[in-house]
Symmetry: C2
Subunit: 338 residues, 2 copies
C-alpha cells in the first residue's frame, strides 16, 4: 500500500508568537513498512504549551512533535495489530510510520489504554501525558495534605483543570488563577474550585490574601513570572512549588528573558522548596504512567474529574488551534480532530 | 552580685544599610539569678547577614540577637557551672542572664563544644551555627556527588568559605563568586577553590561558562538576584540549588524588592530543584548539630577546612563590624572580640 502523508515541518525558530510561515506542510510518499513497524492514521492531535517552549531547544528544521492518537491501518508488528489505536509523539501529521524501536521503548508510543467506553480523546488528555503531568507533578512534588491550601496558575488549561480537581480529591482548598471571567466562572461553578481569580482584572496580591487567609501551602506553577513571585510571597513555612511551565515567557526573546521580583527572600525565610519537572521523568527508566492512568480513569468514571475540550476540526487548522491555545482562547484541553 | 550590663537595642526598622541611630546602647542592672539561671560574660560576638534580614520580620524595639560565646561567671544551674563557656543567641550584650527554659531547650544556648585545644572562636564559626548552615544546607539540600561542579556565591564569607571547602572534601569541582580580587586570590590560593570569579569586574555568564564547561550541578546561593538567575541558566539536568540567603536584597525596601531574570524556564527544562532553608531545621525537634560539629571539627583538625577571621575588637565596635560585613569588607567570618 502506497500512502501519501502530510506533516507540518518547523522551518524557523519562532520569534514571539509562532507565525504560519514558520511552518511548511510537506506532502510526501511513505515507504513500505519494514518488519516491526506500523502505519498509523491520526485521529486526534494535541496542541500544548511545551510545543512552543521546546522550539528554541530544537534544531530546525524539525517535524512538529506532539501527542496524537491514531488508528493502526497496516501492521508488521504483532503487538500492534491493524485497527488498534496508538498514542504516540508523532505530532502534526495525518499518516505516519512508527518505527520498531519507538514501539519497543513504550514511552513515545504505546497502545491507547482501555478507556472502558469513555471517549478516545482522553488518551491525549487526562489519560495521557497531560494527566501524567498533573498527577506526578502535583502529587510527587507538591505532596499535598488534606486541609492545605493549593494555588494553581493556568488553572483553566489542560493541566491546571486536572491539578485543581486532583487537589479537591485530596481534600485541599483550591484557588485557581486564570485569564478571563468565563474561566473563573467555569472553575468555580463547574469544576468545584473554592475560588478563582482573574489575573487580568484583579489585584492578585490582595485577591489571594483574601482567598487564602491562612497562606498557601502548595503552588502548581504553569506560568512563571511576576504572578509566581506574588504567590510565593504568600506561602507558608515549608511550602512546596511544582514548576510545570512558564508560559508567560514562552514567546519572549530567549536572549532577553523577562524579569520579575526575586523569590529568594521568600524561599529562605519560609524554607520553600521549588522544583521544575518534565513528566517523562516518571516514564523512564521505570514507566509509572500506566499506574497513574488507572487511578485517573477511576476518578473520571466516578465524576471526580471532569474533562473539558476545546475542539478544533481539521488537519489544516492545527496551526490556528496551537496559536489560539497560546493566546489563552481555550477552556480546558485544546485538541484537533483530524 | 549586682552587675551592670549593656546591650544594643534596635529601635527602628532599618532603611537601607543599618544606621547607628537605629540602635541604642542601653545600660541596666541585672537582677539576681533565679534558680536554673546563669550569668554570662560575653567574649566573642558574631555578626551575620541574617541579623539584617530578620530585622524586617521582628517587631521593634528588640534586643539585637545573634550568636555569642561567653564565660559563665555565676551559676544557679549545675549543668552550666561557673567558668564553663556557653554559646547562646543572646547577641550584642556584654553581660547577660540565660534563662532556665532556654538552657533546657539546648538550641539557643548550649555548652561550647570541646574544641580539643583549638580557639574558642570556632564556636561561632565552623563549630557553630555557621558551620551547621554550611554543612546541612550544602550536604542535605545540594546532595553533592564526587566529580560534580559546585558554584558558591558569597564565597569568601563565613558560610561560603566552609561550603567550598566541604565541596572539595567531597571531591567536587568548586567555583566561587565573590566581590574583590583579594577574595578571588584568597579562595584560589589559600582555600583551594578550583576557580573564583569577581562579579564586580568580570562578566559572570562568560566567566562561568569557561570555568564550568560541563555545566553546574550544585549551586549554594548566598546572594539571590541576577547572579543566581545566571548560574541557574548554566545548570545541568536535575541540578540542585540550596538557597541560604539573599544578601543582594537585604538592604532593599521590602515593599519594592528588586527584579531579576525569571528562573522558571531553567527550572522546568533542566528539572532543577531549589530549596530555601534555615539551619534551625536541623536543630529541632531532633538536634543534629552536635553530630555535624564532630565531623566539622575533624576536618578543621586535619586541615581540610581552614578558617579565616575578620576580627574587630571592642563592644563599642559591634555596629561597625556589622555594617562592614554587610558591605563585604570581611574576608572569612566576621567576629567581635569583646
Amino acid at each position: 500500500m502506497m500512502v501519501k502523508a502530510r506533516k507540518y515541518v518547523v522551518r524557523k525558530h519562532f520569534q514571539g508568537l509562532p507565525k504560519r510561515f514558520d511552518y511548511e506542510v510537506v506532502e510526501y510518499e511513505l515507504p513500505p513498512l519494514e518488519d516491526g513497524e506500523i502505519l498509523v492514521k491520526a485521529e486526534w492531535i494535541s496542541v500544548d504549551p511545551y510545543l512552543r517552549a521546546f522550539n528554541r531547544h530544537t534544531p530546525v528544521p524539525y517535524d512538529q512533535f506532539g501527542y496524537q492518537i491514531g488508528l493502526v491501518v497496516e501492521s508488521r508488528n504483532p503487538k500492534y495489530p491493524k485497527n488498534c489505536r496508538v498514542v504516540s509523539h508523532k505530532g502534526w501529521c495525518d499518516y505516519v510510520i512508527i518505527e520498531k524501536n519507538v514501539l519497543e521503548a513504550e514511552t513515545e508510543a504505546y497502545k491507547l489504554p482501555d478507556l472502558q467506553g469513555l471517549p478516545d480523546v482522553l488518551g491525549i488528555d487526562a489519560i495521557g501525558m497531560v494527566g501524567a503531568t498533573a498527577y506526578f507533578g502535583f502529587l510527587h512534588i507538591c505532596k499535598p495534605k488534606a486541609g492545605e491550601t493549593v494555588v494553581v496558575t493556568g488553572a483553566a488549561g489542560a493541566v491546571g483543570t486536572l491539578v485543581g480537581q486532583i487537589a479537591k480529591i485530596k481534600g485541599c482548598k483550591v484557588i485557581g488563577i486564570a485569564g478571563s471571567d468565563a474561566k473563573v466562572k467555569f472553575l468555580e461553578d463547574e469544576l468545584g474550585f473554592d475560588k478563582a481569580i482573574n489575573y487580568k482584572t484583579e489585584d492578585i496580591n490582595s485577591a489571594l490574601k483574601e482567598a487564602a487567609p491562612k497562606g498557601v501551602d502548595c503552588y502548581f506553577d504553569n506560568v512563571g513570572g511576576e504572578i509566581s513571585s506574588i504567590v510565593m510571597g504568600q506561602m507558608n513555612d515549608f511550602g512546596r512549588v511544582s514548576v510545570c511551565g512558564s508560559i508567560s515567557s514562552y514567546n519572549e526573546d530567549p536572549r532577553q528573558m523577562p524579569q520579575a521580583t526575586i523569590i529568594q527572600p521568600s524561599l529562605v525565610f519560609k524554607q520553600i522548596r521549588v522544583e521544575g519537572f518534565l513528566a517523562g521523568r516518571w516514564a523512564k527508566p521505570i514507566n509509572h504512567w500506566p499506574a497513574a492512568f488507572e487511578e485517573l480513569l477511576n476518578w473520571v468514571k466516578k465524576g471526580d474529574i471532569k474533562t473539558k475540550y476545546h475542539i478544533t476540526v481539521g488537519f489544516d487548522k492545527l496551526f490556528d488551534a496551537f496559536v489560539g491555545m497560546l493566546n489563552g482562547e481555550n477552556l480546558g484541553k485544546s485538541v484537533v480532530k483530524v
